[in-house]
Each structure stands twice: as C-alpha cells, then as structure tokens.
C-alpha cells in the first residue's frame, strides 16, 4: 500500500466512523468523541513535530503526550485570565491555534524526505487488536452488569417539605426496593389525620409526589405535619416517617 493510499484509507476510515456514530447517536456524540483526540492528541503531536522533528517511535509518543498535557495546562491558566474564562469555544480556538502554528513550524522543520504518514497496516497486529477490543468490551459489559445486579438491600425514600403556597406541604415517595410495592401514606397534622393515600402502588424506581393542604388550628399558629408510610401487608408498623413544622 502506497503512502497516498494509506492517507486516503485512513481519512476514509475516520470519516466512515464519524458518519456511523452521527447517524446512531447524533452530532453531540460525534463532537464528544472528537473531543478526546482534539484535546489529548492534536496539540501534543503538533508541538512534537515543531520542537522535535527528528523524534520517532516511542520517544515521539513520550514527547507528544507530555507536550500536549503541558500545553493544555498552560492554556487553562491563560484562559482563566480572560473574562470568559474556561469554556468550550475558548478551548477550541486556543487549541486549534496552537496546533495550526505548531504544525506549520513542523512542516518547515521536517527532516528532508520524511513524510507524516499513518503506520503501515499489519494483519497480525490488527487481528490481535480486534480480539483484544472484543475481549475488553466484554470485560466492560461484565463489570457493568455486575454494577446493575449488585446484591444490595433495596430502600424507599419519603420526604416532606413546606409547599409553594402557605399551609401546604409537598410529599414524595420513591420506590427503590427493586420490585413493585404497595404502600399506604398517612398525613397527620398535630395528631389529627387529614389525608390518606392507599393503596399507593409504585413500580421499581417509580416516584410519586403530591401537594397537600395543612389546615391550621387557629389563624397564625404553626402546626406539625407528619407523614407516615406503611406497607400494605404491615399497616401497623411505620416504615418511614417524616415531619415538618408549618409556620403560619
């Protein structure tokens, strides 16, 4: 495969991957995916070409990584001095500017006869890399599966806060038991039952919220609102309890 063919082939491969990712996950994913090489690879490689044009192999990788990371840190301090600070547009402009200048210098300093070409493809290395990618991808899936299936006791959240309007409360229940549950929720004000929701059936990771009125005993008097959640199969034992004092 000639040098020109390698360049065309590499560009074509990258373009194909970009189009596939764009079609599957949208432009944001493409931009995010390009962010990694843009920040971690581009400035470093450009500066290495400019400052160490004769470097090859592992040494060029060492120089590129160190220059790239160091350059981004310097740019960060520079951007911090600007009114806009650190933000995406500033990064794009500054990194692109550094890379453009550095590549320009690198082209001028390029040793005679040397071209910047992607590495020659090798079947044994390619097969090994593909096998490794498949194995490691499986490893990540297995690890993430373990996170999802992690043996942990479930839990249910209950909360209550003063409402948006006077003499109201916001109440919420969220089921993280890992299975559907039947609850009953009771609202008492100064010991008097004012509301009850039963049955309150929630699926896994389902949340229920409501806003309830809290009648005051006398105008201007604070009252204590208490919400008690019980399981339908054990209505006597309080499962969760929250309380707030509602000021007049």
């Amino acid at each position: 495969m000639s040098g020109r063919q390698r360049v065309v082939g590499s560009i074509s491969l990258v373009a194909a991957v970009v189009l596939i990712v764009w079609a599957a996950n949208g432009l944001e994913t493409v931009l995010a995916a390009m962010g990694l090489p843009f920040v971690l690879v581009l400035p470093g490689v450009a500066l290495q070409k400019a400052l160490f044009p004769s470097a090859t192999g592992s040494e060029s990788a060492l120089l590129a990584i160190s220059l790239g990371l160091g350059c981004v840190i310097v740019l960060g301090f520079v951007l911090n001095l600007t009114p806009g600070g650190l933000h995406a547009t500033a990064w794009v402009i500054s990194i692109f500017a550094v890379a453009l200048v550095a590549f320009g210098v690198g082209l001028l300093r390029r040793p005679g006869g040397r071209t910047w070409l992607p590495p020659r493809p090798d079947s044994l290395v390619a097969v090994a890399m593909m096998c490794s990618v498949v194995i490691l991808g499986s490893a990540f899936l297995i690890a993430r599966l373990g996170v999802n299936e992690h043996s942990r006791p479930g839990f249910t959240q209950v909360w209550m806060l003063p409402g948006d309007t006077p003499s109201t409360v916001r109440i919420g229940v969220r089921n993280e038991e890992g299975r559907a549950e039947d609850f009953a929720l009771r609202l008492d004000v100064d010991g008097q039952r004012v509301a009850e929701w039963s049955p309150l059936t929630l699926g896994p990771s389902q949340e229920w919220t409501t806003e309830a009125s809290v009648p005051a005993r006398e105008a201007g008097q604070a009252v204590m609102a208490e919400a008690t959640l019980v399981r339908v199969d054990d209505p006597v034992t309080p499962y969760r309890t929250v309380h707030v004092r509602i000021a007049p």
Binding site: S66, G76, N80, L86, H87, W91, F140, G146, V147, G172
Partner: protein, 623 residues
Amino acid sequence: MRTAPAISPSRLANVVLRRTGSLTHARLGLFPVLTVIASAGVAVVAIGYTAGRLLLPIAPALFWLGMLVITVPILLRMLAHEASRTERISLILLMSMALFLVKVLHSPVDFTLFDEFHHWRTVDDIVETGHLFSANNILPASPYYPGLEIVTVALVQMGIPLFVAGNAVIGAAKILISLALFHLFEEAGASPRTAGLAGLVYMANPGYLFFDAQFSYESLALPFASTALFTLARLQNGKLTRGMIALTILMIGAVVVTHHLTSYFLAAILLVWAVTSLIRHDRHWRVPMVAAIGTIVATIVWLVTVASVTIEYLVPLFTGAAAEALAVLTGNLGVRQLFRPAVSEAAAVWEQLLGFGSVIVVSLTIPVGVFILIRRRRSNAIAVSLAGVSLAFGASLFGRFTERGAEIAARSNEFIFLGAAYVVALVVLLTVVDRRGRRRTGLVGGVIVMLIVLFGGFALALPPWARLPGRYLVAADPRSVEPQGIQTAQWMREMLGPGNRILTDRTNRLLLATYGRQHPISAAGDHVNVRAVFFARQFGPNEINRLREANVPYAVVDERLSSSLPFVGVYAERGELALTGPHRQPIDPVVLTKYDGQPGVDRVFDSGDLKVYDLSEAISDER
C-alpha cells in the same frame, strides 16, 4: 522400563518460547499475542469484580487469577533474551494499560475512591464558574493545584462525561510515566532489557495499582516529574537542544501547579542529583543544579503566592508523624500493627507473607543493586542519583510503625521506587543472565523473585475489603459508596438546592459535595470544630450553640454507622480520634438518633438508613 527424563522448568520455559515462534511478529515479537492474553486476564478480573458484587466466595480467586494471567506472560517475555527494544516498550505499555483497566473496572460507572471525589468537586466548580481557584472545603489544596482539573475540564466542556474524561487523562498519564521511566533508565545506562524490567518493578510499588491510577492530582504529577527527570538526564548526557530545555521547563512547571508533594519530592531528587554531580565534577553538572534551584524556587513561589492553604493541610501530617514516632520511641504509644485494619480480621496469611516477602526482597536487593550500579555506571550521574534515591526505601520502612508515619511512607513509595526499580531490576537480571547476555539457570529464580515483588505490591495496594466490590461496609471508602447515599445527595440538590451547610459523616460528606453540590462541613476546610456535636449523645444547648456559630442548618445521619467499627478508622474525619480516642466499639445508636423528637428539628427525608434533619429553626436566634 525407561522413564521419560524430567524436564527442568528452565527447559520447559525455553520450549514454550521456541514453540511460540509462529506467532512472533517481525518487529513486535510476541506483543500481539500477549495483548490478547492480557486482555483475557483483565476480563477474568472483571468477572471477579462481578462475582464480588454478587457476594460469591470465588471472587478473590478470580481476581488473583486474572492478575496472574496479565502479569506472568509479560514478565516471562520481558526476561527473555530475544525480545527487541520495541517489543519491550510495547510490553511495558501493555502491562500499564492492563493494570489501569483493573482499576477502572473496579468501579466502571463512576468514581468511588476517596480522593477522587475531592477532585471531582474541583472540576465541577471550574465548569460552573469558568474559572480556577474556587474554594473546595473537602480538600482545600485541590483548587490551588489545578493541573489535573484543567485538562479534565477541557474534555468535559467538549461534552465528554466527567468519568470518561477523568479516566482518559489518567490513562494518558499512565502511558506517559511508562514511556518516561523506560527512557530515563536508558539514559541512566540501562539496556532495553534492564529498562523494561525496571519498568515492571516500578509497577510493584503499592501505590501503582490503585492510588496513582485514581482521579487525583498525584496521578498526573508523577508522570510529569518522571518526564522531567528523563529530559534532564538527556540534557546532562550532552543532548542539549532548545526543545528539550523548553520541555523540561514545561514539565517542572506542570509538576509545581499539579501536586504539592510531587513537587517537593522532585525538588529533593534533583537536589540529590545536583549535589552528586557537583561533587563528582560531572560534565554538565549545571543542568541538574539549575533544575533543582528552579524547582525549589517555583515550588516556594507557588506555595506562598497561590497555594498557602497547603501549609495548614500538610504541616499536621508531618508534625503528627514526628510526634507519633517520638511517642513510640518513648513508649507512650504502641507500635502500629501491620496488616491489621481498624476492623475485624487481618489480611489472609498468604497475603501477609507476600507483602512481607516483597518488602524483604526489595530491601535486600537494593544494597546489592546500588553496589553493582555504582560499580558499572559510576560515570553516569543519573544512575548514581537513582541509586541514592533507592536507599531511602529502608528509611521509609521505619515510618510504617505509626499511623501518620505509615501514611507518609505509603505516599513516598511512588518516588523512592523511581530509583529502587532500576537497582532491583539489575539484581534480578544478574540471576537470569551473565554479562554476555547468556541465559543462566536462574531464570526460574528470577521469575519467582519478580512475582513476589509484583504480587506483594498488588497485595499492599488496597486492603482486602477495598480490593473487591461487595456488600456495604461502614466508613470503608469504595465499599461505602452505594445508591442510597448517592440518591440522598441527589435529592438534596434537587429539592433543597445546592450549597447548604451540612453536618455528616466521612462517606456522605463526599457524596453530598459531588452528587449533591452541597457544602458538608469539614474541620480542615471550614475551620469549625463540630465533631463534638457529631459524637454527642444528646442535642442540647451546647450542641445547638456550636451549630449556630458554625451556621449548619442541616444534618444527614447514616444509621448504618452504628452497625460496625469504621473500616478506615474514623467515622467523620481525621482528627476525631483526639476527641473519641481509638474506636473500640461501634458508635452508639443514640448518637445517631439524637435529633429525633427535639424541638425545632424537622425530619424532612427518610430512606430507612439515611435521614435528613432540618435544624434551621432549632439553631435560629429566636430560640
């Protein structure tokens, strides 16, 4: 009947090496095959982690099996005579990435190690404000050493999730340190085989597998320091170029703005190197001297003008260590028990033996290696300096017999091993090959020594209860990070808004600061001492006054704390032991339920184990 002659392990190893010739790449040797094998080892470790989460007893065995599959083939090939320089460098990178994935797969969805939360918070602050140097009360020094966060923020602001961005930066750092050390050792006169093996020995330092692979500032600063040492070695060896000088300045500056301790250790190493070169009248002795002076000046200037908060963060660590050492020597304090955590059982016997064995092997080989290195490479100033650095390993051992000393000793390993790796590799190779490069019968012995060193380091990397995921444990850093705490923090952010000052324990402080964007009080960051309130058995006038003065309107209580002693030794934060003494019993449940039924206290959230109390009315001036 004739019996087949016994095959010695060395001959068997040679047979294996010859048979694999068909899979040998022209330039990369067995690297392609070993990549597949190492990947399989990583997959076995991942299965072990999943087994841990499913509470299967086979989990530890799978973890260690995976580590063997990753390590042994690479080690054998690195000891082999046939491997080319390119292959050795590739193998170092392969091992480095495989071990990094072992750490990543430990928590494949989000950060869970203690220090990671601190820098996560700093990243969030920079993303939110667009500027550096916002205060971070859970690690006050972090915003003032923003090297790691700057690179991560650049990626995050490109749309990359923080977890991916952070691991990408650390992954790049791991590649950098592997390359930097290999080239540094070559500049110090090592052959590619010695440099490659030294790179493997470096991975045996207990901080390599998890501590320096986590999303924390030392993880990036150490590669910068290693690169600076390489560039200086290149300069002192006469390859003076403007590019190399510029890179040296950039790397030293990057270290200074990325991590305090690394800059101090780099300055110390450079000082040793500079003095050694000066005394020996080495050629280009000014190179390390200028670098040492420059590093010291830059470090002090940064510390004084930008990061002065570091002083009150670090001074107690060193003064505390000195005080503990004095107390041990005078008999006023017992010696710290090795391999015995604050809670329950010690590490398994074989792990203890491996850990001790690793330390003993390294301790014994260092003096021998220093002698050999100085004899063979006395004309190489870098080699002599690295030998000098390695001698600090013995001194660091004495620090392990006190709590604070152990912390300092653990933190110094990553720097001492920069020198120790080279000398140990020299000694190991002497058992394997002679001066003409011919294989000796000591191959098996060399492999065993390397396995003890490596696996001893892996065993020391994290205590067994932290090494594998599993059920919730009290104050056990990664084992305490779980959905109930995370969702409590997220609830607070959504329903109460960010920035509320909260009294809580060690684990929930991290979750509330990151997932919750709250301001959980810490003694170090807020200069308020509310430990007495945390450990009080009642919520009376004294406690109310303290919280009023500290302006803390919320308390988040985790009632699971009373189920066990804390695995890291403290429930709330470092320094509580001055109030409580060493914890001999789990915290009394009364301490955790003291807010219930108190006038002016609302319980606004209940998830069973975690409760959120609104104390604002109780601590208001009107009461």
